[in-house]
Structures are given as C-alpha cells and as structure tokens.
Symmetry: C2
C-alpha cells in the first residue's frame, strides 16, 4: 500500500521525526473552528528545505497528498487532510537564519512564529509588523496572505515578504524575490505563492521586510454610543488619511466577552482601539486630531497611553478576542466570517450584517480591522446542532455576497481553504478557472493540499 | 495568408482603426533605445475591452502574435514585434472610468498616461504616485511593474494597483482584485499580471489606489564632493527610516548634461534631490534631520523649496534626465542599465559600476532611485558601432551579475523584455522554468508578446 511504502521510505531518513499515532494524527487534522476533523495518515517533522524536497519527491512518486501545518490557527479548514496523506509539521523549522537591521531584512524558516521572531528582534530596534492576532507561523501567514491589526499602516504579508524558498510538487527548490526592495524581473512568483495555501508549493523559508521601532507609540481606546458612530468615525479617519498604525473595532457583545473572559471593566458598548507610531511630535499631532474626530462622532473618554505595559494590556485584550468571544457560549463551535469592503461601504456592510445576526437565533459578535474595511462576525454554534450550523452558513454566505455587491471580497485575511470554495466563482468568474489552470501547471498530480482554494474535479 | 485574413476580419469591426501603412508599422516596432526595429504586420486601435477580446479571438484562431503598445517608452524591447503579428495600440483606451476620492480609488483604461490621470485628479485633493519619469501609460506601467521616484514612500505598481481587467489569450475577460484595500481570496492574479509584460494577457483596465495630496511638500537639492559621500548619505537616511517621499541621485556627468540640455546652473558634481510629504510640522522635522545628515557627509548648500513652481522646476530636470543625458552624445543610442540592490550594498554597487565605466571607452552617467537601492548607468553608444555595442553589453552584464552577487536583482523597474532574457536563469534558477510553465498554461499557442520574459523554445 502506498502509505506503508511511503512510511518506510520517509522513516529511513527522518528517524523518530515521523508518526502514525492516532492522537498525533487527530491533533493535526482538527481545527479551532467548525470543520470536521480529517486527520492525515502520517505526520512528519522536517528540519530543513532539503528534507522537505526529499519528502515531496517520495509523495509525488507515490501520488500522496501533502498538507503543510504551521501553528494550526487557520480558520477555513486549511490543514484538514481531506484526502489523507502526509502532514508536514513545520515546528522544527523555526530558526532565524539571518537578521540584518542595516537592510531591514530577516531571513527565517517557515515554522517560526511571529511572536518568536519579534522577541528576538526586540533588542535590534526593528520589528516585523504583520499581526493577525493569533501567534501563527510566518510560513502559515505567507500561505494565507495574512494581515491584521497593523495592516492599515504597514501592509499585509503581500507588502512585507521580499522572497520565499519554496519546494515544488516534484521536489525542485526555488528561491523567489531577492534582498532588494523591489524588482521587475519576471513574473512575481513571491506574490503567486503568498496566499496559495499550500496548493502550489511548500514554503520553507521567508525573506521578511522589517520596520524600525517607532520612536514613540501611543495606544488609545474610546467608547461610542452606537456602532454606526464608531464606524463613521473610522471612515472619516481613513478618508482624511490620518496616519493610524492600528484602528480596531469591537462591538458591545465583544466588550462584554472581554469583561467576562479577562476581567476587564469596559463599558459594554462599541469601542475603537487605536495606535499611533512616529516621532513624539507626529504622534501627538495625529492622536489629537483623532480625539477631535471621535468626539464629533459622539465618543466619550478617549484614553491613551504611551507606556509599554499599558499599551500591551490594551492589545492583549484584542488578541484574545477569539477566545473571549468563544467563552460567551462555552463548548460552542465558531464560524468566523471575514469580509473586506471599500471603506465607503463599511458602515453599510457592518450595519446590514448586524441586522442579519439580530434577526437570527445565533450569537455573533462583530469586530475587525476596520481601517482596511475588514471585519468579522464570530458566529457561535451549539456543537452538533445541524440547524444552527445551517443557519450560520446562510448568515455567512449573505455576508460574503454583500461584500461582493459592495465591491469587496469574500475574505480579507483568512483565505479560502474549504470554507469559501463555493463562493470563489462568484467573486472571480473565469479568474477562478485560471487559478485552476495555474494549479494544474504547477501540481499536475494534485498532491499539494488537495481540496482547497481551486476548482475541484468531479 | 493568415495576416490577410486577419486584416479582413479585423477591418470588419474596426473600420479605420487599423493600419498596414509602413510608417505606422515602423513607429510601433521601434524603441527609444538600442534595439533594432521589428515592426508588426498590423496595428489596431481598440476602443474597449470587448473589442480587445474580439481581436484576441481572431489572433488566437489564426495563431498570430499580439503585442500591446502603450506610450512606447519601455526600455528592454518590450514592444518589438519580434515575430510580426498584430500590435494593439492602446491610445484610444484613455478614459478615466470612475474617480472615487472617498475610497481613494480611480478606475482607468490602460492607455491613459499617468500625467493625464494626475491632471484630472488635481482638483480632487488626491494623486496617483507611481512616477517612472517617462509619461508612460498606466497599462504599460502595470505590465512592467513600474516604479520610480516616489516608490521609496508610496511603493511601486505592486502596491498601487488594486485590480485589473485582463483579456486572456483566447479572448476571455477576467477581472482581478476588488475595490477593497486587501484580500486573501485565492491566488493573487493582480500581482501575476503586474510585470508580465503582455505575455500572459492584455491589461485593458486598472483599479488604482490613490493617495491624498500632502498638506505640505518640500523639495530640496544638495551637492556632494564625491559619489561615495552622496550614496553614504542615502544609506544613512534609509537605514534610520527617515520618511523621504523621493530621494534621487545624479552624478557629475548627469549634472553637466542638465546644464547643457536645460540651461540649469548646477555645480558639476554629484547631487541628491529629495522631497518630503506631510504636515508642515513633520516635513520641517524630516527636512531638518536630512539637512544634518547630508552635512555630516560633506554636502553643501542644501536648498529647499515648498512653492509648487520651484519644486516643479527641480523635478522637471530629473524627469528629462534620459533626454538630457542622450544629448551628451548626439545621435548615440542608449543602453540603459537598471539594477537594484539591498541598501547596504548600494555604495559598493555604484562605485564598482563607476570604476567599470571609467575603465571602458563608453560614456555612462549614473543616476537613480537610490532610496530603493535602484540605479541606472545610461551607456551612450555610437550608432552602428558594433564594437561599442559589444563593450556596452559586457558592462551591462557585469552590472547585472554584480547585483545578483550582492543579493539584488537584474532589473529594478524596467523589466526583462528581450534585453535581459539571457540573465533570467541566473537570477531565478528553476523559477524561470516555472515562469515558462505558467506562460504555457495561460497562453499555450504563445501568441502573447512572444520572444519576451520567459524561456524561448528552440
């Protein structure tokens, strides 16, 4: 049997860095969300790019699916081994290969997490800005073209990855991009692999763009009488081009969840959390303008802090939002929606979403990276209740279709995986078929993370 | 004969927007640089995306090459009809389809030039920043992934194109991206077509990201005792993260060319031209810091201006650099090199290039967008002197190989075309073969701008 033969071949050079034990398989086939568990047949822990190449040659020869696995924090079933196969757990490829603050570049292995990287960079006066909330691996963040709280200022993975090392389906190794700030040298292969969700190749190393630690950072929070005011303030801030480094919205239910989960004492109403980076002068200037704008929109008590511990306390709340919100309904599964619309359509998108959720039987706090026009409703579904799941899926689909009608996209940052396959043709038309053509050209046997992103045969 | 049949079919719906007259063909097959003229068989002037689709269906059926043509300012032979065929002159697709300052978006046709766009946007308080110098079409800029003087602050086409309308080889029309600020919805088709040089599809419309007119703009110029000091100052400015909106280097020969061509009275020594955008406070702050840095590097007479006419006079000089430099050797052909290196390697790359040129018999002024690590030597070759051409090509190759050795790229902004084909495998390894696989998947009959960018059969 192909699996047994592959296991023997892989064991020959992986030693004890391979497993078929059921708990290990289950752990790698599950997810933090509503997708059913689909474990792989084998889990391996490669230690370098050459090993990944060797593994892919074996899997390619045997026609076995290969599923890359980072921190397991993805939300659309990306790591599900829908067709079995070999899971590549990247946990042992977590080295920083080089740090070069002079060029504002770090070269890292794909299994390193963003928090590990920033911890190491702390003393060098630089940092890597992309912050999706979860402590994801940088390879996983590249694979989903992740973004997050700081994207409004620093961009997403698209703007902050200069190059990649990728192992192709047949085991060939390529290096995309360079250490230069830009290039016009042929097709943008870096961009092609960013967001490809493991379906075109396995990302093993990344060349990342770093940013200087701002001289001053000021974080703030303010409370709004209603959601419309908060979102209106965001639109105004973005449209006037105010240089915010972060601008996050949480609704009253999310505020309540924070209070329950983390013991905070937030007023249970909509809030904006904001951050400014720059020189003391520019930060003060921007923060003052922000204060005036939110006051015009009825906000009260705009508090801000520059001390690191106060700022960290504020953002820790936001980073635990997913778990805090889940605690509102213990044991529930989450269906996390993720749309992104032009900023002029944000208020309509958020308000129509809220109306949909209020008319449903499902709790769904709303929060998001509103400076980009990106927000989430976290739909909490009682485990094993198919009616609720069906209702949640209808809610989620309505959100996605609304995003398209408003000129936006069905996913701002979480990706397609299995959860949004059925909406891809609506968003992309023939473009989705084109994605399928590219997939076939690069992975003719369809071994790379099958069942995700592209049109499925049959 | 295929051409005659195609001409008849195309004439049936293009009326007088089609030509086989020799002067027209010659005009479309030439270039401002050293490439030999290679005229197409037919030139057509489509007026909308549907017409482009119809043209491509006819050419695809007949197996005829299709070469898109914008302003004809590309520098690597991109518009050469190396295998004959039908040239699509995009001049009549020059409309602004929508302007939406609220979302900071404009939708335009591919034949619109960047200056035409910015002229229209002027009264709306927004602008499109990418500035390659030449008044190129936006479609052409997308096709070469252009950048330029403002990329150090606002990014290249990669960061400023949100979506594209593209006609595929078989005439199908796709729309990539959306009006949202970001997306994780599948492969980044927008990025794939940016820099594809007409080899994967014909770009007919673009959704562009606009930026707010800065409250204040300050431009400045300063003179350095030698090239090393000027480049050293740039490295320091970039490494400390000073927010320059433009930072351009010109060497003493370029300064002399400006004086001859434009009647300026620049000191004939290396200069930096710089610009700052922001609030009056932040601009003053940054400009003062810049003044201190360049003084440390021996610069004299840092002059700056905030009035529009003074700033425009300064940048007009820079924008005419190509023609000014050409005037140093009337009638000469230009071979324009274009490498980009990590900022830490900029001084070495520039100085070694200078040494190479000084040891040669060819004049080669050096200038560039040094904030990105990108610079050019404009090698001036006596027309019809094969020895000089051979020598210039060796110089250019040495520059490209040096860029690769220093972690950079063989082209920062001009693209591959025909001029850099022979260096692609050195830069990309198997990645270049992968580009060929993608090309074959999207254009199996190789009708789209054949002879450029990807590996050539036979």
């Amino acid at each position: 049997m192909a699996i047994d033969t592959a296991f023997t071949e892989l064991s020959s050079f992986l030693g004890d860095r391979i497993s078929r034990s059921k708990p290990v398989l289950d752990q790698h086939g599950g997810s933090e969300t509503h997708f059913a568990s689909a474990p792989p047949d084998i889990v391996v822990w490669p230690e370098n790019t050459n090993e990944v190449s060797r593994i892919l040659k074996i899997c390619s020869h045997a026609g076995l699916p290969v599923i890359p696995f980072g921190a397991g924090t993805s939300l659309e079933g990306h790591t599900s081994a829908a067709k079995g196969g070999v899971c590549l757990d990247m946990a042992r490829m977590n080295q920083i290969l080089s740090q070069d603050p002079g060029d504002m570049i770090a070269q890292v292995e794909a299994g390193l997490t963003r928090e590990e990287l920033n911890h190491e960079l702390r003393t060098l006066g630089v940092f890597f800005p992309v912050d999706p909330g979860a402590n994801a691996t940088l390879g996983g963040m590249a694979a989903t073209r992740a973004s997050g709280t700081t994207t409004v200022r620093y961009g997403s993975m698209r703007q902050n990855v200069l190059g990649l090392t990728v192992v192709l389906a047949d085991g060939r190794i390529i290096r995309t991009g360079s250490r230069a700030a830009k290039s016009s040298s042929g097709y943008d292969l870096t961009a092609l692999f960013l967001g490809s969700e493991g379906t075109l190749g396995i990302i093993t190393e990344l060349t990342l763009r770093l940013h200087g630690q701002p001289e001053e950072i000021r974080a703030g929070i303010c409370a709004f009488p209603d959601m419309g005011s908060a979102v209106g303030a965001v639109q105004q801030v973005i449209q006037m081009g105010l240089a915010v480094a972060r601008i996050e919205f949480v609704d009253e239910t999310t505020a309540r969840a924070f209070n329950q989960y983390a013991g905070t004492e937030m007023e249970e109403c909509p809030h904006l959390l904001v951050e400014f980076h720059g020189s003391p002068t520019s930060v003060t200037e921007a923060s003052d303008i922000f204060g005036e704008i939110v006051q015009d929109f009825g906000a009260t008590g705009y508090e801000h802090a520059t001390k690191a511990e106060d700022r960290n306390a504020l953002w820790k709340i936001r980073h635990h939002a997913f778990y805090a919100v889940q605690s509102l309904r213990p044991g529930a599964h989450a269906l996390v929606t993720d749309i992104c619309v032009p900023i002029s359509q944000l208020a309509k998108a958020v308000e129509d979403t809220r109306a949909d959720i209020e008319a449903s039987s499902i709790p769904g706090p709303i929060l998001g990276h509103v400076g980009d026009g990106n927000f989430h409703a976290i739909l909490l579904i009682a485990t094993d209740n198919p009616d609720e799941m069906a209702e949640a899926k209808i809610l989620a689909e309505r959100m996605s279709r609304r995003a398209l009608a408003l000129g936006g996209t069905i996913t701002g940052e979480h990706g397609v995986g299995m959860g949004k396959l059925h909406l891809m043709e609506e968003e992309h038309g023939f473009g989705w078929a084109l994605m399928g053509d590219i997939k076939t050209a690069l992975d003719p046997r369809n071994i790379l993370n099958p069942g995700k992103l592209v049109p499925q045969a049959g």
